[in-house]
Amino acid sequence: METLLLSRIQFAANISFHILFPTITIALGWVLLFFKVRYNQTRQERWMEAYRFWVKIFALSFALGVVSGITMSFQFGTNWPGFMEKVGNIAGPLLAYEIMTAFFLEAVFLGIMLFGFSRVPNWLHTTATFLVAFGTMMSAFWIIVLNSWMHTPQGFEMIDGVAHATDWWAIIFNPSMPYRFAHMVLASFLTVSFLIAGISAFRWLIGGRTEGVRVALKTAVYAAALLIPLQILLGDFHGLNTKEYQPAKVAAMEGNWETDTGVPLVLFALPDEEARENRFEIAIPKLASFILTHDWNGEVKGLNDFIGENGEVLHPPVNPVFWSFRVMVGTGLLMLLVSWGASAMMLRKSRGVEGLPKPVLYVLVGMSFSGWVATLAGWYTTEIGRQPWLVQGVMSTKEAVADVPAPMVLSTLIAYLAVYAVLMVAYISVIFYLARRMSRGERIDPKTPQSEAAVARAVPAE
């Protein structure tokens, strides 16, 4: 395989691994703040119990997010030097602001949040929790600004083949940024809701029926039920925005080859890029036109419009975009079904968690990491849908790649993948391990006296 393809795979692998953890920490920070504030208000021990368990998961996820993020900041230089050379004047300040406003804030106050409970006044500890949550949100904001600018660039001019900023306001508030940021933040909250619901259901099932588990499970399921319709609505708006600025991406998402009116919504098909048609198509007539133009007979652009004069293909590869989009939407619909179903059962006769039959609890456990699936699928739709462009209409991915020998990229890729595989197994099994120990009523701190002290400091108010 050549360097370009390997570099793309390496970048995709690294960022996919990275994004998993911010997806959890962005929302979990706020959830912890919520638990903490509820405790400050009510002084009910169950809020603190929930806090204490989830702060551990937070610390773990944060560490993974930080180390994989450090990898990301080197990736631009090692694999995509052309990117910064061409659009560095725009990408640079955005990344700099992320580092300065977000990373230091998180990193410093994380120490105080985790280890400072006994050393600082309660208000400062709560403030530190807030600042960490705020910092993760800021990280997400700046990086999404940059990413969205790559999809819908504006506010710059090209001088001698290098982009120069002309209007920072336009760069930051580029057309797709508000949608992408909101959709990402909601994705994070949904991911965390299902994670908390799933792990709490697991603890409930194996007999850890404490008050802390009860409130966490209830909070999480209701939050999911509230947020998922919003997410679907936002997803729809996001798609409309994309149709305006990146019609080729939408055509690939819909698996629509010919520009036409009254286009059907394809539910299932095997897009065939050789023959340029769908096989085994199952579709609902006119629905795609209706969703995308709000008119049953509206016109929707097809992939065949994006063929260059010499026959080169200017639209993204169809299959990955088509399928990852379906995985995301499918997961979203499943989330809707499960969270509404579970909420209805809990609300019926106000039976709360006792109203959930065993199979439903099992389903919740199974969906613990469903947020990850939808998020990754969503990002794959977005990023692969931008190809062959790296910055839409400004530079292609090919232009940016480093001139590093392919075997080097391949061997480092294998090393990364091996490390990630180990860490993934360790991460998920440690979460379930901690959950099991909590359910058995064991302290989940290590036994040696010193680390007891070290870890106890991570456990405020016990």
Binding site: P81, G88, E462
Partner: protein
């Protein structure tokens, strides 16, 4: 040309200085916590826990200085960033994997089931070692002008070992400050055992740099500058002697001045680093690309500078806050 009026002159200089300061802060701060990791095999289980407790609240923020340094290289000197990082592709990857291993080991060693704790301790050590070896190697390669050859790689291996021992030295001085009793005395021994890495490392780099480049040779050994610069090696030498003298007598009665070795070690780093910065200026890719050729457009640098002026003091302030909150011996860091 008016030097301070022309933004294409003073902006790159300011950013080079900022980048230098971040790298310096990074090697001191992450230097000590990497060093603690390198010393791990010499400690028993209880000591390991205390050593971890001494760096637990800081390591994440310490590593962020690396992100800032690379970030500044990336945003202020994009052309150099690409050139340097593609030339150092392999050591960078090794460093990143090292950083991943040690970063997660902090968490996993405390949370994973007991039988795995040893494995994560090993990962913590291995990660720290990989990180410092590869950083030392990159330093050597950078000095050699980023050209791959057997001789240069050999020099890189040499600096890799020296930097690693140097980190273990500064790590030991940190442990002296943060612990007491048996572990503290042990750390004094570690420091005595590690000081040679620092001395040889500084010596090797000081000898090699002027040897590789005539330009640097002239900068140091032409007449008046030789005079102005002479305090640098003399002071460093005196510091080393003083450190050695102090370490032979430590710990002092009532644990007084336990912070001095760390401070002295830091001063040594600062001087060594200052010397290197003097040698390489104005180049960012040695002998190939100056900071003025590699810089981004002034309007972009200006936007970043505005933010930096506000944000950097804030970062300093809350870094100080964190170190104040967690001052004192690591064992005192108990919950309740």
């Amino acid at each position: 040309m008016n030097t301070f009026g022309d933004p294409t002159v003073w902006l790159p200089f300011v950013f080079a200085a900022l980048m230098g300061v971040s790298i310096l802060i990074y090697v001191v701060l992450d230097g000590f916590d990497l060093g603690v990791g390198i010393l791990f095999p010499f400690a028993d289980d209880n000591e390991k826990d205390r050593m971890i407790a001494s760096i637990g609240p800081f390591w994440d923020a310490n590593e962020t200085w690396l992100v800032l340094a690379v970030g500044l290289l990336l945003v202020a000197f994009p052309a150099a960033h690409g050139e340097i990082l593609t030339a150092l592709y392999l050591p960078v990857t090794i460093m990143l994997i090292g950083l991943i291993l040690r970063g997660v080991a902090f968490e996993f060693r405390a949370k994973a089931p007991a039988p795995y704790k040893d494995a994560w301790n090993t990962a913590f050590f291995a990660g720290s070692l990989m990180t410092s070896l590869s950083q030392g190697f990159m330093l050597g390669m950078y000095i050699m002008g980023l050209e791959w050859s057997w001789a240069h790689a050999g020099f890189g291996l040499l600096t890799a070992v020296f930097l690693t021992v140097g980190y273990s030295f500064i790590g030991a001085t940190w442990v002296i400050h943060k612990t007491d009793e048996y572990l503290q005395r042990k750390a004094v021994d570690w420091a005595k055992g590690g000081i040679w890495g620092l001395v040889l490392g500084i010596a090797a780099i000081s000898l090699a740099t002027p040897y590789v480049s005539d330009r640097i040779f002239d900068k140091w050994f032409s007449w008046p500058s030789f005079l102005y610069l002479s305090p640098l090696p003399i002071l460093s030498g005196m510091l080393v002697v003083w450190l050695w003298w102090m370490l032979r007598r430590m710990p002092f009665y009532g644990d007084r001045r336990s912070w001095l070795p760390f401070a002295a070690a830091t001063a040594l780093w600062v001087m060594a680093f200052g010397g290197m910065a003097y040698s390489f200026y104005p180049y960012v890719v040695p002998e190939k690309l100056t900071i003025y050729d590699a810089a981004s457009a002034p309007e972009s640098l200006f936007i970043i500078l505005m933010g930096t002026c506000i944000v950097l003091p804030t970062i300093m302030a809350y870094t100080v806050l964190a170190y104040t909150i967690f001052r004192g011996k690591a064992t005192e860091l108990r919950y309740d």
